[in-house]
Subunit: 498 residues, 2 copies
């Protein structure tokens, strides 16, 4: 589909109303009809935002402009999935600030033409990072799910707020359907569980801890922190008052899973709240083969689970789930009547805004709902099982390579695989402070060069006594085995002379 | 532009690769070529998400699917701005949960066809609320800005995170450009100011208060709340320790502005942090005629300003700004090396994730940046000044109406206009507890009927000793004077027999 047709149909049908489109001085309808589609496109240099809807007769121009934007996006999507395209065209911050090839970030008092805005859109994508590229392994969130993307476009168009049922009837009900589904998958009795979607894992964890604290000390709501003892999250040796244990299911770097049953036993004995941060690992519950790694999560009191990580939902999509219904509301609600009126025409239990400290929230549920419809639970499972296979493959290949060393010898628990690359000059030097000081510099140098060349992206970090090592991670549906092989070759190419 | 053409061009050019499109059993190319565009569309009933990119040869199907989604969205946008269309097609939560005309919200293990997803998208919009409709006055955030929408579509397609420059180079730099611009408009010396975009006004206010507390008690970072005295936000009579005053510029219900200079004087004298919640009122700074209402804001230490309110940026877009540079970072950063590596190829001051308690954030800056480019500062000013005019017009009309009573006699300070409607049976009854009990029910009843009929939406609430009154508010660019007149008639029509 070429959007030149859009220009044509616009010209033919509506005879290019001069008011909104200003077609290059020409007034002759026939000339316009015959004008090449490309010329029609350039006409937007004389059109401005103020000509678009809700401006009178702005309808055709609005469609034309939005379709031209979509055309830019479709080209970008195509390139995203093309492993021969670069992941990024790297520049330094100061270069972007100074302006690159006419891409001027500065804001002015005066408007720019719609044509210039299209150029700005193209440039924004040109200098960005293709996070859906098959060789983008940089974050736990990666990939570009087309259904999720469609969901985001619709969400943006609906432009509402997870505040009340009144202004987001479908989305608030979808949220309850999703939360019920997710609580069911965790293993909680569905009718009793609860939750909300929040802006990311840190905020979801915050909600989990707020609820834990409220459950133990409900007086905090009216009387504040001052009435509490000095409470701590983990049992410490200083004799302070523990109230909550946060377990991790899928750690960021190593992809490690805490033993949830053991932790649940301790929490039960000592009456502590058990929160599981499954932001990364939660998605594994959808795999019948691998969900056992989260065994015991059904005993948790609250769980953070980010569908924008392993499940590949576009950013952002994070849920905090609680086993006991009503706690989020009891803990966070202010019942401000100027925000949440009690005398409404519908069941106000769906006015979910008052369950949060945010009041309004971005609509993060629709894309997940649409993806779930599109894939079915089994579709997610297939995708996730494939990541696990790829991780195993990657691990096995690395294990055989002389100049790579795995941070852990054992097969990976999750899709994270951590490893060092040793350039030939360091390969045979035994571990020592001096050698580690050299090794520490290798990953950053390889990564820097990868970014500059735009060939692949993966993360590295030090951890404890381990100097900088790479963390490979699989959560990108576009990644194939060939991309994995490519990455290994690429690391060797860039690293061998370091 | 009709997307039937999309089907056609797809059929003609790519001869409907059978693998991905499954064209209704037919294999004859000529038949397909001649097939009516509508038939081509129905072909997606045999196509699934797994056939889309990154699936091999999924390119054409991906374009076709996304363009069909866009077609649905374009029709929705058209209807949004049509004042003859209903704002919503009201149903109760249980009706949505039970399923309306085949709109089934339940999630299954098995996938649905792309065609069914398109129906789901249509239904999602059908049962939602058109927040850009000219007669949607329900929230401080209303309207549908086409440029902002395009910005959101692009943001969704780029699908990255305000975490590091590495993965969001253009967006993190755009954020600094926007923050600098906004700090400049507030009146702070640009090089010294700072800020971040956060998920909504409540979280922005939270950041303001966290910074205020940190500035006064930096030891909180290492040693926690327990080392602090019992601090309070407002000076109380109980002799506790005040540390911060939160002033409001544009209150939610009345649109009132606190006297910022007076508050700044007090804060200076007592060395208190001054935070201004200008979530709603901040946009007024862009009006040369009206910005004086925020005079003194330049003396604040921190400011919350939501471009998703008066400036009409799609939800969500909220900034917290601080006069002193570096405080957000000092207060919130954890310098976790597994998240933010110090040994990078670029200037890591642009790795803004560590300035927040969130780590990653949704990209909320691009739509604002694109709108600013599109309108220029003057474009926002024109829009905002028009809202102020409409508010004045509405106030003047109501003042003359016998059966309407303004909550405040004076001309509105902002675009909020609060009023009661008195049905004839209550008009001549003097104020009394019994009369107020009856009056309390009027606004909810009128609102309920408006929602059921889908003719207009505006909010009501009680406040202190004032029983339920309507709050009209202007922030919707589609609203014209005729819509205001319509609303007044509509309230009378629905209310006269109550």
């Amino acid at each position: 589909m070429d959007l030149k047709e859009c220009g044509y149909s616009l010209a033919n049908r509506k005879q290019m109303r001069k008011k909104s489109i200003h077609p290059c001085q020409s007034t002759d309808k026939d000339v316009i009809k015959e004008a090449h589609a490309e010329n029609v496109m350039t006409n937007l240099s004389n059109a401005y935002a103020s000509d678009l809807l809700p401006s009178k007769e702005g309808e055709d121009l609005t469609k034309c402009f939005l379709l031209r934007v979509v055309n830019i996006l479709l080209h970008y999507i195509e390139k995203t999935f093309d492993d021969k395209s670069k992941i990024l065209d790297f520049h330094h911050p100061h270069q972007l600030l100074e302006g690159l090839d006419g891409f001027d970030l500065e804001l002015s008092d005066h408007p720019e033409s719609l044509e210039q805005l299209l150029v700005d859109c193209t440039d924004t994508l040109k200098y960005g990072v293709k996070t859906g590229h098959p060789r983008y392994f940089n974050q736990l969130s990666s990939g570009l799910d087309v259904i999720g993307l469609a969901g985001e476009w619709l969400t943006a168009t609906a432009n509402t707020n997870m505040f009340t049922y009144e202004i987001a009837p479908v989305f608030t009900v979808m949220e309850t359907v999703l939360l019920k589904k997710m609580c069911g998958i965790i293993g909680w009795r569905e009718t009793e569980a609860d939750g909300i979607f929040s802006p990311g894992g840190s905020i979801s964890n915050l909600y989990g801890i707020l609820v834990a604290r409220y459950k133990q000390y409900p007086e905090i709501k009216a009387r504040g922190m001052a009435v509490l003892p000095c409470i701590v999250l983990f049992v410490s040796e200083q004799g302070q008052t523990p109230f909550c244990v946060v377990a991790t299911a899928g750690s960021t770097v190593f992809g490690a899973f805490d033993p949830l049953h053991d932790i649940a036993d301790i929490c039960e004995t000592h009456k502590l709240w058990m929160h599981v941060d499954a932001a990364w690992g939660g998605g594994l519950l959808l795999s019948r083969k691998h969900s056992c790694k989260l065994s015991g999560i059904e005993r948790a009191d609250s769980v953070t689970w980010n569908p924008h990580k392993l499940m590949g939902v576009p950013l952002q999509c994070s849920a905090v789930l609680t086993r006991e219904k009503g706690l989020l509301g009891a803990c966070n609600q202010m019942q401000a009547e100027y925000l949440f009126q009690p005398d409404k025409v519908y069941n106000i239990n769906f006015d979910t805004g008052d369950k949060t400290i945010q009041c309004g929230r971005h609509v993060d549920v629709f894309k997940l709902w649409l993806m779930w419809k599109a894939k079915g639970t089994y579709g997610f499972e297939v995708q996730i099982d494939r990541y696990m296979e790829l991780a195993k493959y990657f691990y096995k290949v690395l294990k055989k390579k002389d100049n790579f060393k795995l941070v852990f010898d054992a097969e990976p628990e999750f899709t994270n695989v951590c490893f060092w690359y040793f350039p030939p000059r360091l390969k045979h030097i035994p571990k020592s402070f001096e050698r580690d000081q050299e090794l520490q510099k290798i990953a950053p140098k390889i990564k820097a060069q990868m970014i500059v060349e735009g060939t692949a992206m993966l993360s590295y970090q030090p951890c404890g006594d381990k100097v900088n090592f790479f963390r490979m991670v699989f959560s990108n549906p576009a990644t194939r085995q060939t991309d994995v092989d490519y990455l290994i070759d690429e690391i060797q190419r860039l690293g061998k002379d370091l």
